[in-house]
Structure formats: structure tokens, C-alpha cells
């Protein structure tokens, strides 16, 4: 089955720097597909290659089976929403939207009708006569979208479209983009460094780092089953624990791990059939852990793991509390929701000895590990929620 859009072995170098390194992936028709990653990971370059603004040094892109190689940007059925919108300052909103159709030399009546239709879609009919400097950021973005969509492209490329907007506006525009996508139905390829945007909007996400794709999956796959330490640390927060597989239990697909410095072994679901004796890196997200002052004898399943620890730090956030608990060599980051009235319970304080427990299903063993990935989130105390070995 031929894919709608396929990248095959795309590479791009800028001088000695490899911006995109043999990237291959496919996009389905009509979906919202994100390229997510930190600055410099190559996501914008890939987008520009698809738009026709950069030529790849290797590989090819196939759209509906057709190689886009020799097509310049003005001949591709692909349109781009630029990060700063790139509205023509000397033209009005109406003229901006009409631009593409005028280039295509459509009859004036058709252009007028289409532009009116678009203005209605973005709800800016009464601002059609204004020049870009007189409208707000959110409005500029809508005009940019209208200007692109009026040409009925097969793919719409969005280059960090919400980066220039403030938080509240960003949240609103996110919803609007989703609605526009539902109305129009074309494929969106969305580039961002903001995982929140990416996860809330996308059907599939490609997480990129240093010119390569680390993982492609749905938002929940990316979040719950990260294949590498980079994906685990870049999306949300996590704890990464190093250990060895002591024994595997093929009958129920679990395995027993000895994690460095932990007082006892723990159980973990063996998704990838890792053999005994292998060194593994276990990723457990902070919300999967629970802390309690008393050992929860009655609450535990056979697959639960329970270890003692000591509270080193905590931050009360109202709906939840962030704890940093020392267990063995690790400083575990734990997020605890307060589902019951907090003041009825004994409060956990600094230096309290506590019990930390989690279900064996809730950890995920990473396929690839890189020590530098643990420092992705700022390595200072406050925001780092990655477990790190005591130095």
C-alpha cells in the first residue's frame, strides 16, 4: 500500500553540521503529524525541504508516489504557514488571501467568492480591508492559514505557528487549529518544540533529536512507552533507573530487576522480551509512583513493587505535591495527586521515612540510553524531575 507522503533517507548538511541524518518516515492522508524536538534537531529543516525551500543532499520525498525532487516551491501542492506569518505588509487582508489565486490567474469573480468564503471561515470578514500591521497576532495567523488553505493544498505545513503568541491565545488557537483541520480535512504537518501542543493536537508524533528520529507513535505511545532515554526525558518528566535483569517469567511476561542501590528486587512488565543478565534502564514517570508514611500492606497487588525511602525535598502545588525521595542511589521524582481532603491525613514532611510503591506495569524499559539525555530538563534542583545518581 503506497503511503500518502513518504520521506526516504532524507539527509541535509550545512557545511560540517549534519542537520538531517537519513530520515525516513510516512504520513497518512488527512492526519495531523508533528515533528517534535529541541532547537537544532532538524525539524524545521525537514519542513523546509518538504516545502521546497531547501534541497536535500540525499534521499527523496514521495507525495502520492510522485517524487517532489525537481519541483520548486511554487509548483508543489504544499503550502506553508511561516513562523512569523509572512503576511505581505503592503497588501490588505483580502489581497493577501487572494494572492495565490491571482498568481494562478483565476477569474476575478471566482477569486472574490473564494476569498469571501475564507474570510467567513476565519471570521474576519469585517477586517478584510486592513493591512497586517493593524491586526493582532492571532488574527495574523488566521489570515496566514486562510491564505494557504484557499489554494486547497494537499499538505499544510505549520512551522511553530503558536510560538509568537502568549499563553492564553496559544491555548485558544490550538483549539481553532484543530477545528479548522476537522473542517478542511487536509494533512497537517506541524513543527514544534512544545510537547504540550504536539500531544494535544497530533495523531502521530515524530520525536527528533540531532537530525534523527528517535521515535514515531501516537501521543500516548510516545508518553507511556518511550523507546529511548531522550524521548522519555524530553516528553514530560521521568525517572531513569539502571539495573540488571535477574530473572524472566515467560508465563506472565514479567521479569525481576535488581536496580542499583535498591534494597530489594522489583518486578517489571517485559514488553520487549529482554533476556536475563542484560543491563537495562527503567523509566518510571513521577505520577506512577505513590508515597505513604505507612507500608500499604492491604493495597498491594503481587505485581506491585514497594521500597523504603526518605523524603529529601518536596513542593506543595495545591492539587498535587512533588516529592524527591531518596531510595538507594537514586533521588526519585514523584508527583502525588491529592484525591482526598489532605488535612484529614498525616502530612508527609521533610526527612520522613516513607514507602514508595508502584505497579510493575507502570515502568518501561528503554531500548536506548544516553547519559546526557538525563540532563535535558534543567539540571538544577527545582525543575529537574529526572532521577540522578548521587554524586
Amino acid at each position: 500500500m503506497a503511503e500518502f507522503l513518504a520521506f526516504e533517507g532524507i539527509s541535509k548538511n550545512f557545511g560540517p553540521v549534519c542537520a538531517v541524518d537519513h530520515v525516513s518516515f510516512a504520513v497518512k492522508q488527512g492526519e495531523i503529524f508533528s515533528l517534535l524536538g529541541p532547537s537544532g534537531c532538524g525539524k524545521t529543516t525537514l519542513l523546509r525541504i518538504l516545502g521546497g525551500f531547501e534541497e536535500p543532499d540525499g534521499g527523496r520525498i514521495l507525495l502520492n508516489g510522485q517524487d517532489l525532487a525537481d519541483l520548486p516551491p511554487n509548483q508543489r501542492k504544499v503550502n506553508t504557514i511561516f513562523q512569523n506569518y509572512a503576511l505581505f505588509p503592503h497588501l490588505t487582508v483580502r489581497q493577501n488571501i487572494a494572492f495565490g489565486l491571482q498568481i494562478a490567474k483565476r477569474p476575478a469573480r471566482e477569486i472574490r467568492a473564494e476569498v469571501d468564503r475564507m474570510l467567513k471561515l476565519i471570521q474576519m470578514t469585517d477586517q478584510a480591508h486592513k493591512k497586517p500591521h493593524l491586526i493582532s497576532g492571532g488574527q495574523k495567523q488566521r489570515v496566514a492559514i486562510a491564505r494557504a488553505l484557499i489554494l486547497k493544498p494537499q499538505i499544510l505545513l505549520l512551522d511553530e505557528p503558536l510560538a509568537a503568541l502568549d499563553l492564553k491565545l496559544r491555548q485558544r488557537m490550538l483549539i481553532e487549529l484543530d477545528q479548522i483541520h476537522d473542517t478542511v480535512g487536509i494533512t497537517f504537518i506541524y513543527v514544534t518544540h512544545d510537547q504540550g501542543e504536539s500531544m494535544s493536537l497530533s495523531d502521530h508524533i515524530a520525536v527528533m533529536n540531532k537530525g534523527r528520529i528517535e521515535q514515531i507513535g501516537t501521543p500516548s505511545e510516545i508518553y507511556e512507552a518511550p523507546r529511548s532515554s531522550f524521548v522519555a526525558a524530553f516528553i514530560g518528566d521521568t525517572n531513569i533507573l539502571e539495573g540488571q535483569v535477574m530473572e524472566i517469567y515467560p508465563q506472565n511476561n514479567y521479569c525481576k530487576l535488581q536496580l542499583d542501590g535498591f534494597p530489594s528486587t522489583v518486578l517489571c512488565y517485559n514488553d520487549n522480551n529482554i533476556k536475563a543478565g542484560t543491563t537495562v534502564y527503567l523509566s518510571v514517570r513521577p505520577e506512577k509512583f505513590h508515597v505513604a508514611l505507612e507500608k500499604p500492606e492491604t493495597k498491594l497487588h503481587p505485581e506491585h513493587n514497594c521500597v523504603p525511602g526518605k523524603v529529601e525535598d518536596m513542593v506543595y502545588m495545591g492539587a498535587h505535591t512533588k516529592f524527591w525521595v531518596r531510595v538507594g542511589d537514586y533521588r526519585l521524582a514523584i508527583t502525588q495527586q491529592h484525591r482526598r481532603f489532605l488535612l484529614d491525613e498525616a502530612a508527609i514532611k521533610w526527612n520522613d521515612p516513607v514507602w514508595v510503591y508502584w505497579h510493575g506495569d507502570d515502568g518501561f524499559m528503554l531500548e536506548r540510553y544516553n547519559e546526557s539525555d538525563e540532563k535535558i530538563n534543567d539540571p538544577t534542583v527545582e525543575s529537574a524531575a529526572t532521577a540522578s545518581k548521587a554524586n
Binding site: 550545512f14 553540521v17 525539524k43 524545521t44 525537481d70
Partner: protein, 294 residues
């Protein structure tokens, strides 16, 4: 090998670059080379035209014993001019750059208008002002600062004064341009760390506008070396500069090869500060930054 796109890009580059480059090569580079070439041609006695063949006599004739004095005068006037212009331009540029945008453009327009008016007229204005029967002469004589018979015109100091007058806008513009881009909060930071205003000015502001300073110095010093009009109108014999000599040899004494030789020497003298400035600019040139997220 080059891809089709790369060849197209090169073609576009040549299409757009060739006309101006061709014009300037033909009418700027080649004439300059000709000046150097003619330095080695003999003069036709009588008409002063360029003779046939090649010779070193013209070149040797440049060792005229009168020249060193003129060269020296040209040098010190030019350097003094540059120094004074810079000394005035820096505080002015600093002041204007700190104003609110509307005041800034008003002041800059005031600075620019004289620059757009006729150069000759501005020099002529001084001739009127400094005339023996003019107001300044009268005032100074009345104050007993000068001898009533003395001439304010026709000496090297007058030349210097008028040169500063005409070159000052050229110094202010680049200094202002650099000062406008300067982040003045750096000075506050320096003060916060204990520096006096003067110290902050020298240690933080001046280095911060370095490129503007270099441009200002260049744009005043080099044309000064070749000044012709001001010494001609205001200098008299004791204010003569190299430019005058070149013109004199071309039109009055009519010896084209000799004048050509003088021009060649002046060209060399001018290329040295230029090369120096270019080296200074290039030392700090950052690599072309790649766009974020390349």
C-alpha cells in the same frame, strides 16, 4: 558536480552582479590602474601630454624637495581633522542615541540637512564669515584678540576649521548608527558594579561602538588626505595640500604624467589606512550564524 539548481543560482548571480561590476571595473578599477601606468610614461615637453614609451624620469621627478613639506602639512591637517571630528562626533552621537525616537529623528534631520546642502556653498559661507570686512573678523579685532590687519583666511588653520565643518556630519552618522544599536543598559550595569560614569564611558561605551568609530575615522581621514576644494579656496600658499598640487600639475603647470605620479602616491597612502581598517573589522567578524534549528 553542480546540480541544476546550483547552476541556475550561479547564472542568476552573474546576471545580477555583472552590470554594476562591469561598469565599476571599467570606470573605476581600470582608470586607477592607468594612473599607475602613466606614472612611468614620459611627458611631452610643451603640451604636458603623455608621451610614448616608458621611462623612470617621471617617477624620479616625484622626489621634488618642496613636496615633503606639503605632504607633512596634508598629514597633520588630516589627522587633526579626524581627531577633532571624532572628539565632537562621539558625545553628539551618544547624546542623540539616548533620546526618545521622535527627538532622535528630529535631531538627526538637523544634522543631515547641512550635509545635503551644497558643499561649495557651505565653504563659501565661511569665506564670508571670515572675510576681513566680515562679522567675525570685526568681533575678534574689537576684542583685541587679533591684529586688525591680520587675515583670518588663507592659512592652514582656516583650512582645518572648514574641514572639520564639512566632515563632521560624516563622522556623526556612523557613530550615531553604532550608538543607536548600543544597549545602554550595559552602562547602568557598569555603574551598578561600581564604575564611575567616565570609566563606564571609556570601558564599555567606546568599545561597544567600535565599528562606528572605525568607520567614522576612515570616512573622515581618507577624503581629508585628498582634499582639494577647501585648501584651494581657503588655504592660500601656506595652506596648500597634496590635492592642490595634483590639480596644479594637471591644469596649471600641465604635466600629466607627473600629476599621475602624485595621484598614484596618494592612492597608495590612502590604501594603507583602508587596509588597516578592513583588517580591524574582519578580526571580529563572527561566522555567518546558521538559522536556529537548522
Amino acid at each position: 558536480m553542480k546540480t541544476r539548481a546550483e547552476r541556475k543560482k550561479t547564472l542568476h548571480e552573474w546576471l545580477i552582479t555583472l552590470p554594476p561590476v562591469a561598469w565599476l571595473t571599467l570606470l573605476f578599477v581600470i582608470p586607477t590602474l592607468i594612473v599607475f601606468a602613466i606614472t612611468f610614461k614620459p611627458v611631452v615637453p610643451g603640451t604636458g601630454d603623455i608621451g610614448k614609451g616608458w621611462t623612470l624620469t617621471t617617477f624620479r621627478s616625484l622626489g621634488n624637495p618642496n613636496y615633503p613639506a606639503i605632504v607633512w602639512r596634508t598629514l597633520w591637517i588630516s589627522v587633526m581633522n579626524t581627531t577633532l571630528c571624532t572628539l565632537l562626533a562621539v558625545p553628539a552621537g551618544y547624546f542623540i542615541a539616548r533620546l526618545a525616537p521622535r527627538a532622535r529623528s528630529a535631531y538627526m534631520m538637523l544634522v543631515i540637512i547641512p550635509f545635503w546642502t551644497s558643499f561649495l556653498i557651505r565653504i563659501f559661507a565661511w569665506k564670508t564669515l571670515l572675510h576681513p570686512e566680515g562679522p567675525i573678523h570685526g568681533a575678534l579685532a574689537w576684542l583685541h584678540l587679533i591684529d586688525p590687519q591680520a587675515l583670518l583666511l588663507y592659512n592652514a588653520w582656516t583650512v582645518l576649521l572648514v574641514m572639520v565643518y564639512t566632515h563632521l556630519p560624516f563622522a556623526i552618522l556612523p557613530v550615531y548608527a553604532a550608538a543607536e544599536k548600543f544597549d545602554f543598559r550595559l552602562l547602568e550595569a557598569a555603574r551598578d558594579l561600581g564604575a564611575t560614569p567616565l570609566r563606564a564611558f571609556f570601558a564599555v561605551f567606546l568599545p561597544g561602538i567600535r565599528r562606528g568609530l572605525i568607520t567614522a575615522i576612515l570616512v573622515v581621514l581618507i577624503p581629508s588626505l585628498g582634499s582639494y576644494v577647501i585648501p584651494d579656496l581657503m588655504g592660500g600658499p601656506s595652506g596648500e595640500m597634496i590635492g592642490n598640487k595634483i590639480a596644479q600639475r594637471t591644469f596649471v603647470d600641465r604635466n600629466l604624467p607627473h600629476a599621475s605620479g602624485l595621484s598614484a602616491l596618494l592612492t597608495l597612502a590612502v590604501l594603507i589606512p583602508m587596509a588597516g581598517a578592513l583588517l580591524l573589522q574582519n578580526k571580529r567578524q563572527p561566522e555567518r550564524m546558521m538559522t536556529e534549528d537548522a
